[in-house]
């Protein structure tokens, strides 16, 4: 069972209180973008064995969206942070590096 701490409530929310929202940090490519960029935005997703970034909603709690960094192999959670973050904050990256030295995910490391 996955437990994620909602950054808004501070509640350690059980998976059944949450709604999964797919991959985090998707970059929107709009008018003027190439077909490849738009296809990437719509369809191309990471499917890592290890460090991953996801969107979650505290659906049965405060109702807010947030982002989570976790490991898809061990279900270890490195941290959660507000949905408004354009990239993983420094303290989250640091926490991942401490556990998974040399990790990369899309353009982040």
């Amino acid at each position: 069972m996955l437990t994620l701490t909602c950054p808004y409530c501070g509640v350690a929310a059980d998976e059944t209180e949450l709604q999964a929202g797919g991959e985090a940090h998707l970059k929107r490519f709009g008018p003027g973008a190439s077909d490849d960029e738009f296809e990437g935005y719509l369809f191309v997703r990471e499917n890592p064995k290890g460090v991953h970034f996801e969107r979650w909603r505290h659906a049965y709690g405060c109702g807010k969206w947030f982002l989570a960094a976790r490991c898809t192999v061990t279900l270890e959670v490195f941290g959660t942070y507000p949905a408004q973050s354009k990239e993983p904050p420094a303290h989250i990256r640091k926490a991942i590096t401490a556990k998974r030295p040399g990790w990369t995910w899309r353009e982040f490391a």
Binding site: C9, V11, A13, E17, Y60, G61, C62
Partner: protein
């Protein structure tokens, strides 16, 4: 005029832990910037209470303020005057981005009281009901069985559960069954 009635019409499931329909309760959904003086004033006028901290409730079912999210409070007032209170809050908040909606008739209020009341909830929700984790003044929005619900516990260990009116029968039946099945003995 038709008489307002609660969804559960005063149902009671008596036992070691008694589950009881608390009848009509006034509830106002208040959304806005919780940091503003105007909003604090509106809440003070409505209930006489200070704003609760995140995850907390101040007051009680008759006059209370419960923290729902970073931009939402649930205002608890007597049922009869809830519409007028909501209107007055909207007046106080005029000119600021807000919502003050009387949702009283869309909700139900149920109490769970007795020696293993905590376990009755623990069996049907993911909330850690241990006294060290959930104490008087704490307020949780969570899941109750298959539906959304919110609850808090008072100093007398009485738990009050809020759910949607349309799901009141489900929540009451679930809580009554959980109570009837007896104590697990983990939380005492």
């Amino acid at each position: 005029m038709s008489e307002p009635v609660s969804a559960l019409m005063g149902r009671v499931a008596a036992g070691a832990v008694t589950v009881r329909d608390e009848g009509l309760a006034g509830m106002i959904t208040l959304r806005g910037d919780l940091a503003t003086a105007k909003l604090r004033t509106a809440c003070k006028h409505a209930t006489g209470l200070a704003l609760p901290a995140p995850g907390k409730i101040t007051g009680n079912a008759a006059k209370g303020l419960a923290w729902m999210s970073p931009d939402e409070l649930l205002v608890l007032v007597p049922h009869a005057g809830a519409g007028a209170v909501a209107d007055q809050m909207a007046q106080t908040l005029a000119g600021t981005h807000h919502l003050a909606a009387n949702v009283s008739d869309a909700r139900a209020l149920i109490s769970v009281a007795g020696p293993h009341a905590r376990e009755v909830l623990a069996k049907v929700s993911p909330v850690d009901m241990h006294p060290g984790s959930f104490a008087a003044g704490d307020f949780r929005r969570s899941r109750i069985g298959q539906v959304a619900g919110a609850f808090w516990i008072d100093a007398d260990e009485v738990i009050r559960v809020i759910c949607f009116r349309s799901q009141a029968d489900y929540v009451f039946t679930l809580l009554a069954k959980s109570a009837e099945d007896g104590a697990v003995g983990f939380l005492g």
